[in-house]
Symmetry: C4
Subunit: 240 residues, 4 copies
């Protein structure tokens, strides 16, 4: 029987390299700066309670950034690459994450604030114009596009080095699936950006949800790629 | 003779993994931001002296966060787990610690400020309403509940993997004791939260100390679990 | 056939030492503080959009600091030195980088701001006097001079320890080339400083570009050193 | 012939442990926060030039904190201890360093500011009262006392574990010398504190320099301990 998609890739290294030390420290700072609002030590109990209203926003942003970190960690552990391509793409990932820490926080703060009527946010952030709404979705979508593109490039880089790394046939297949998956996700982000840039929000107010709802496409996309990968893995295991 | 409870668990790894690098950098950043009040470089000797009044608050918060770090370090060294459960629970621990850095500081600043008549705090923080007092205790207690629950889950996760890790019978016993200990501590925090939420502070002012005094229960709870564990270890060593 | 200049130096170590952990954490912190404007969490979508105008400035500064980090990483991996000289020079590098994080940002912010008519910068930074223009170039040039001098010293230190490290003849040759390269770059920075300090900007306004254009000399200098090194490597490989 | 005092201690470990990762990250943050004035990004060239006046202060503080880091690194490399005592004393060192980052900066800013007539400091910090002058010296001296005492305890801890570590007779001798050296330095700091607290600054203005000049005693103390250690090492080597 074929192995499941998740445990095909072997762990090739446990100890971090310097590149990973740099990446880990940067991600650790990014989440710390996300959660600990600097220059903003609460000076009274009521300020502390107000600051805690941002916890749902922090939680979502923390989960998103922690998942990116985990994906990079798994990439490193599975492929054990430390060459110029790995360094360049990893540093690009750090750069995109650092640029997006605050926009991420704004977008989710906005979402929780509007969903809760302003309660779930220390400072209610309002969207004042249609332009601002478009801009928030476009910036968020470009961030997703950038992150998923970098991961697609990281997996492509690993796939090209398969001989040097010593990837098995099943591992090469899973690597190709991961490239496809990140490309598909990047395309979903691109679709959301296109919708945000072109939909007539002012005339048809109901369309303002569409750029956000577009991200729901990630779920069937992931499921479909997963099923296809399981079939291919089975075929590979069945082959003589 | 049976070994004491403390030195039953063997050290299985000395070198940090990437997960631990991430956790360590986050904890180090958290304590640094706790102690170094950002955006607040003292600009004169008198401001420096004022800032030093916060040292007792910093010391207590530093000790608490450093102990959490040490417990996580020991957990990693003893069980050497680096799987999805270890990653998820460790990141959850980092998130809870980051959320609680400033509330912790506020609560102890409040405590030292009121115990010293406002002297031991750079800015005297007053409790203005009964609601604020309740809220401070509830937030603090929920933090304790979260931290101890995460540690109980970490030890439960290790206990379940005992075969893969290769825990001895004595080590499995100590792991169970550590689960019980963290559950007991989490229940003490829950009791404090319940007292803070329900006691009639306004009518009986003397009750305002009870949610804080509830934490004294940690001492007999720890002692009792320790004695029970020593007896069980002895029984295990005596068994054929 | 002789190997190319880039892959002559062997990797002697993959795992970081404590010195490198310290250097990496400092660099990671420096780029994080560069990109995440502290004490400046955007509070609205329009503030977020304004902050994103600084992205080109961040990108250039990030690339420059990331390259310094990468050069230090390669130096460590190739020479595997952890003695007093390595510690002292590495800490000096960290110090110079930390001192220069904000000046670097100012200089590129100024450049993008003036190239784009004030659009590519959150806060348009203007040069008000000839003295300020001179000063910006002098500070920037002294930074380059310091960084390249530290790298020249690092390579000289490695070259002197060639017997202890076990450098091959080709590796010693490449080490000498890297010393020369960093000395040449430091001299270019020195030339720019001299031009900025002495050119009659007020009388001949066209000369204000010269201290910046001086850095274009880095390109032919690098190319020429590269060609000379390739020739020497070939001669070495051809020698009996 | 006997080895010199400096190279008696053997390096027992190169790779950092988690404790050291935590200590290194904390020291890296401390120096970064020292140098990069947070919440204070210069917004013009003249502000940048003003900020650069603090460079001498930063340099001295950086050197002092980097030396403490280096001493801790050497302690770890030479004794390779990772037990409860090592963890507790190392965390205590981190705490004292974090508490002292800003006071250190104030004291040297004050010194450079007064030596240069206010030029070498972004914001001239004046001492307004005799009490403030006493306080600055007392705070600075207590910091030195704390740091040197922690190092004395670290070396004492290592000396006690000599059998477990496997220290040679010469290494035990050097360990004892390092305890004495740190105790002697702590006593110099204590002398400076006593002078600052008791000297009649108001009546005899010339005495205001004495608490600072007391630190010059470190030089003969270090030289004398060094000579005594060299003699003892020679005697040890000569013994049958």
């Amino acid at each position: 029987m074929a192995a499941s998609v998740d445990d095909v890739l072997q762990v090739r290294r446990h100890q971090p390299t310097r590149l990973e030390g740099f990446v880990d420290a940067s991600f650790a700072f990014a989440v710390t700066l996300l959660v600990i609002s600097l220059g903003h030590v609460p000076a009274s109990v009521s300020e502390m309670l107000a600051a805690l209203r941002d916890v749902p926003t922090f939680a979502v942003c923390f989960v998103l950034i922690a998942r990116m970190w985990r994906n990079h960690r798994d990439w490193s552990r599975h492929y054990d690459l430390d060459d110029a391509g790995a360094v360049g793409l990893s540093l690009l990932l750090v750069f995109v994450v650092l640029i997006y820490v605050y926009p991420l926080r704004i977008v989710f703060s906005l979402m929780f604030s509007s969903l809760s009527g302003g309660w779930l946010a220390e400072h209610a952030i309002g969207i004042r114009t249609v332009f601002e709404l478009r801009a928030a979705f476009v910036v968020f979508g470009l961030g997703g596009l950038a992150i998923w593109s970098v991961f697609a490039l990281l997996y492509r880089h690993a796939g090209r080095q398969h001989a040097a790394i010593g990837l098995s046939a099943a591992e090469r297949l899973v690597t190709r699936v991961l490239i496809r998956r990140n490309v598909a996700f990047a395309l979903v982000a691109l679709l959301s950006v296109a919708l945000a840039a072109t939909l007539p929000f002012a005339q048809w107010p109901a369309t303002i949800w569409l750029p956000g709802l577009a991200y729901l496409l990630l779920i069937p996309a992931a499921a479909r790629l997963r099923r296809a990968a399981a079939r291919e893995l089975q075929a590979l295991a069945a082959a003589p």
